[in-house]
């Protein structure tokens, strides 16, 4: 295949990855990196570099809408970014020292962990009777969000600030290491430790993903891992695909979509693990 043909195929698959990423809520990174490495035989660091910049584009686009609709808890997001950006920077530097095999194995494992909340969160609601902790009260993190069906403002409290901050460092670390948004890990922390309503944690996770990715993207950019010929079709394709996906999500419930993609993602995770162990 000539380079032009490869670029065309990358562009089309990036559109598909962006579409599936936004429908499943997992983001495009977890799909585009296996495609570029296993599909096109590219160096995993080049795939990570292309993915990390495309993540900034999609998450910033989605965050713009969520913030405008007042679903994002900006204060919680800004606070937790202390953890995610430090983790992101650490991860981007560590990647430079890890052998490719280790990156494949880590990627496969993180993908498995990411599938769990996707599978578990099939229909959940606002946690009730949460009492805000001291840090959350001092930082005035409690807020409200507009409920879609009733149109009323739903008030919610926040807890577990220190635990969430450390979990965010880990989420940032994996984001920087593997060039993924690590949205599943961020949502997991906010759901379980902070007890935020599901829609708020999804929106707030999206808000942080762009900043987290920007922290590590600079390192990849200057190191030469963001290769223009790969990054351009990936960023443009994923952005286009996820914009279409966001429109589709307004019309179709994503529960069915998630169910379909869980086995697909599990398959991708296994393929990455096998590659990491040198089997495939």
């Amino acid at each position: 295949m000539s380079a032009e043909q490869s670029i065309g195929v990358i562009f089309v698959t990036a559109i598909a990855a962006g579409l599936m990423g936004s429908l499943t809520g997992l983001g495009g990174g977890v799909l585009i990196i296996p495609l570029l490495t296993i599909g096109f035989g590219l160096d995993i660091r080049v795939a990570i570099g292309a993915s990390i910049v495309s993540i900034i584009a999609t998450s910033s686009g989605a965050a713009a809408a969520y913030v405008r609709d007042h679903l994002t808890n900006i204060r919680v997001g800004m606070l937790l970014e202390l953890g995610t950006t430090l983790g992101g920077l650490t991860g981007a530097y560590v990647t430079g020292y890890l052998p490719p095999g280790a990156l494949f194995v880590l990627f496969g494992l993180v993908l498995f962990v990411s599938v769990i909340p996707t599978a578990a969160r099939l229909g959940e609601e606002v946690p009730r009777g949460i009492e805000g902790d001291r840090a959350a009260r001092a930082l005035r993190l409690a807020s409200s969000y507009p409920d879609r069906s009733s149109g009323e403002e739903v008030l919610y409290e926040v807890k577990g600030v220190p635990v969430s901050l450390s979990m965010m460092y880990v989420a940032g670390l994996f984001s920087g290491l593997l060039g993924i948004g690590a949205g599943a890990l961020k949502v997991l922390a906010m759901d379980t430790a902070m007890r935020l309503p599901m829609r708020v944690s999804t929106a707030t996770s999206n808000f942080m993903i762009g900043v987290t990715a920007a922290a590590s993207a600079g390192v990849y950019f200057w190191r030469g891992d963001v290769v223009p010929v790969v990054a351009a079709p990936v960023a443009l394709g994923v952005l286009a695909g996820s914009s279409v996906g966001a429109q589709l999500l307004l019309r179709f419930p994503n529960v069915a979509v998630r169910l379909i993609f869980i086995p697909v993602l599990a398959g991708v995770a296994i393929a990455m693990l096998l590659r990491g162990f040198g089997v495939a």
Partner: protein, 133 residues
């Protein structure tokens, strides 16, 4: 120990939300336009003709520096234009954080102004620190 009751925060979409939303959207659209222009230039001018993808990747996989990118843009080099667009993309969330520092200062929210300023330092420090090695 006595605690002062913190003033209630306002609910709803405030000016910070609106400006953050606008900034993020403009940044993404601007960078996408620059990347698209560079991508079209790269394809039209045949900078990748006849080789395999991995050859082109190996050729383009060099440590980036700002001088080379700027000189490339002067020559209407697609590769350099894409890099400029990618750089604008990286700057988009960073400017969102910078804007938030300003908004928190204006609201006299010293704690959150400090928190966002630290995040800004991590981001800018990381970006500059990794550029000069």
């Amino acid at each position: 120990m006595r605690h002062e009751t913190p003033p209630p925060i306002e609910y709803g979409t405030g000016p910070m939300e609106i400006w953050i939303s606008r900034l993020l959207l403009s940044g993404v659209l601007l960078s996408a336009a620059i990347i698209l222009a560079g991508f079209i230039l790269l394809l039209l001018r045949g900078g990748i003709g006849g080789e395999s993808l991995s050859d082109v990747v190996d050729k383009q996989k060099t440590v980036a520096d700002f001088g080379t990118i700027l000189r490339g843009i002067g020559r209407a080099d697609g590769k350099s234009l894409i890099q400029l667009g990618l750089f604008v993309l990286i700057l988009t969330p960073i400017s969102r954080v910078a804007m938030s520092v300003f908004f928190f200062l204006r609201e006299r929210d010293r704690v959150f102004a400090a928190i966002t300023a630290i995040v800004l330092c991590i981001l800018v420090g990381g970006l500059i620190g990794s550029a000069f090695k």
